[in-house]
């Protein structure tokens, strides 16, 4: 079955989740991945959106983090202060899903500005929940597309902290959680090198070459000793993902 690089990315991200996870979900690619996991191999996964919906099971992907569908299908909906205090800061989230406009080799993310903060070239939306998700979720999964504009040697702003300068930087700052343990892109799956914490490629998606990888990343890529090939999406994964997108498109078309 043919599939797109985007679909491969979503499937790779979905596979990283288990039924035991309690997942803090962002809109976009993370939301598709989390719901695909719930509809395939991880039916028990708990999805939490920062609008306060806990254990939500949306039939279609939300357009915004506060869609009614999330509340209607949730186990319970709490206020936003409670969400950040008891559930995130309280340490109850196993996986925080993040993306960004820019990322560096240590998984530090920027969604705030391009250029200088005080006279920005592009003013992006900002961090939202990300600065605290990055330090309070037990692990962070990042999902974003590779491009030279996005995968940069130095990010313009530290919206959310990954491994900082690498090595033991998190521990030095008193952060007890693991940080970005996995990065799923449209071309590969990455994971931190155990000592330096630099993200390294552990599997390449089918058909992706190292030349193409080099052209999409703004630093010299580190590869694990034995790089495998990511198993392609199965027919079942693709069918469920496409159904989800089709339902979503129909639900969001036109008014309402």
């Amino acid at each position: 079955m043919d599939y797109s690089a985007n679909e491969m990315m979503t499937v790779a991200a979905a596979r990283a989740l288990t039924s035991d996870d309690v997942c803090f979900v962002g809109i976009g690619a993370p939301s598709a991945a989390c719901n695909l996991a719930r509809l395939t191999h991880a039916p028990g996964v708990t999805l939490i959106y920062e609008s306060g919906t806990i254990g939500t099971e949306p039939n279609v992907l939300p357009l915004s983090i506060g869609d009614g569908e999330l509340c209607e299908t949730a186990l319970t909906t709490v206020s936003v202060p409670e969400m950040f205090r008891y559930w995130l800061q309280g340490g109850r989230i196993t996986i925080g899903f993040l993306g960004g406009a820019q990322m560096d080799r240590f998984g530090n993310l920027n969604t705030t500005i391009v250029g200088d903060y005080h006279s920005p070239k592009v003013r992006l939306p900002g961090g939202g929940g990300a600065p605290e998700i990055a330090v309070h979720a037990q692990q962070i999964y990042i999902t974003m597309k590779q491009s030279p504009r996005g995968f940069v040697p130095r990010i313009d702003f530290f919206t959310s902290f990954g491994f900082g300068e690498g090595g033991e930087d998190r521990a030095r700052r008193g952060i007890a959680t693991k940080g970005p343990t996995r990065l799923m892109t449209d071309m590969a799956v990455w994971a931190p090198e155990p000592e330096t914490k630099e993200l390294q490629v552990v599997s390449l998606h089918p058909g992706v070459t190292r030349e193409a990888m080099a052209a999409s990343v703004g630093w010299e890529i580190l590869y694990a000793e034995d790089v495998s090939e990511t198993p392609p999406p199965t027919a079942e994964e693709l069918e469920i993902l496409r159904d989800l997108h089709a339902r979503t498109k129909a639900a969001h078309a036109g008014r309402g």
Binding site: I27, S64, G68, L70, G129, V135, G256
Partner: protein, 281 residues
């Protein structure tokens, strides 16, 4: 008991030039009609506060009502960036905009601190975050018991808090259902609160643990059916997603933006909102 008065009167008596206003709503229950009334009354130099400034703040900023924005995520949900806000931040159009930027967790804590009559809020957060270096209102305090450094920031105490809700009863008690956001905290942190509602009913039919704001915490109740459109009201009408998509195009161009505001905000009053939700099911 709050005053049951027209929206125009409520805004005119509470929102003055230079005051701080929080029009809250986390995707849900966004008080669009109230924002439009502020624009019609031509208020200037407002400090606007909101976790998730979206279309209405883009409109207030683009119409030159705002000199400072305190926020944590400024985007058009599911669509993209806020083009009028970007124009103000990047080019100072129509007037320069000062920003004070926080994270969601900090804003939520700061509203709670305001509602709790505390001078500041604290949390374990902003660790390794760049906002610490650009926002002088983010400081640290040391835990007197463990020595741990925690992030501290001022409580939010808006002069006026404005929210929308599905219903109030005749005593002015307001029921909030669905995604709660920081609606309760906004009302309790504010010096005075205005609540626009879909309807006023005899009985809220609220269960014992429902989120109900007693009428005596609210300054004014204004009945504005459809007043959250194109945001939504849980159980009443859905989000008008296409309006958010269209906004991206309208706001992309200064002239088109001004023409749209003239026709859809300045030349009308809050009675138009009921029509705007009529076709939504």
């Amino acid at each position: 008991m709050p005053d049951f008065i027209p929206l125009k009167t409520a805004i005119a008596r509470s929102v003055t030039d230079g005051c701080s206003v929080a029009l809250e709503g986390f995707t849900h229950l966004i008080p669009h009609a109230a924002a439009h009334e502020i624009i019609r009354q031509g208020r200037r130099e407002l400090t606007l506060i909101r976790m998730t400034p979206d279309m209405i703040y883009d409109q207030l900023i683009g119409m030159g009502c705002v000199s400072k924005l305190i926020f944590s995520y400024a985007g058009n949900p599911g669509v993209g960036l806020l083009r009028r806000m970007r124009d103000a931040v990047e080019n100072g159009w129509p007037v320069p905009l000062e920003i004070e930027e926080h994270s969601h967790a900090a804003m939520a804590h700061a509203y709670e601190a305001g509602a709790s009559n505390m001078p500041f809020a604290l949390m374990r957060g902003y660790i390794g975050a760049g906002l610490r270096e650009v926002n002088p209102n983010i400081k640290t305090v040391t835990c007197p018991f463990t020595g741990e450094e925690l992030a501290a920031f001022p409580a939010l105490r808006p002069d006026v808090g404005i929210i929308h809700a599905a219903k109030a009863d005749r005593q002015g008690n307001v029921l909030i259902e669905g995604i709660l956001g920081v609606q309760k905290e906004t009302v309790l942190a504010a010096k005075t609160a205005i609540v626009t509602v879909e309807q006023v009913v005899d009985d809220l039919q609220a269960h014992p643990n429902a989120c109900v704001l007693p009428g005596w915490t609210i300054g004014a109740i204004c009945e504005v059916p459809g007043g959250a459109h194109p945001s939504y009201v849980h159980g009443v009408y859905p989000r008008d997603n296409s309006a958010y998509v269209e906004w991206d195009e309208i706001a992309a161009d200064r002239d088109r933006f001004q023409a749209w505001m003239q026709a859809n905000v300045l030349d009308v009053d809050d009675s138009v909102f009921a029509d705007r939700v009529r076709g939504l099911v």
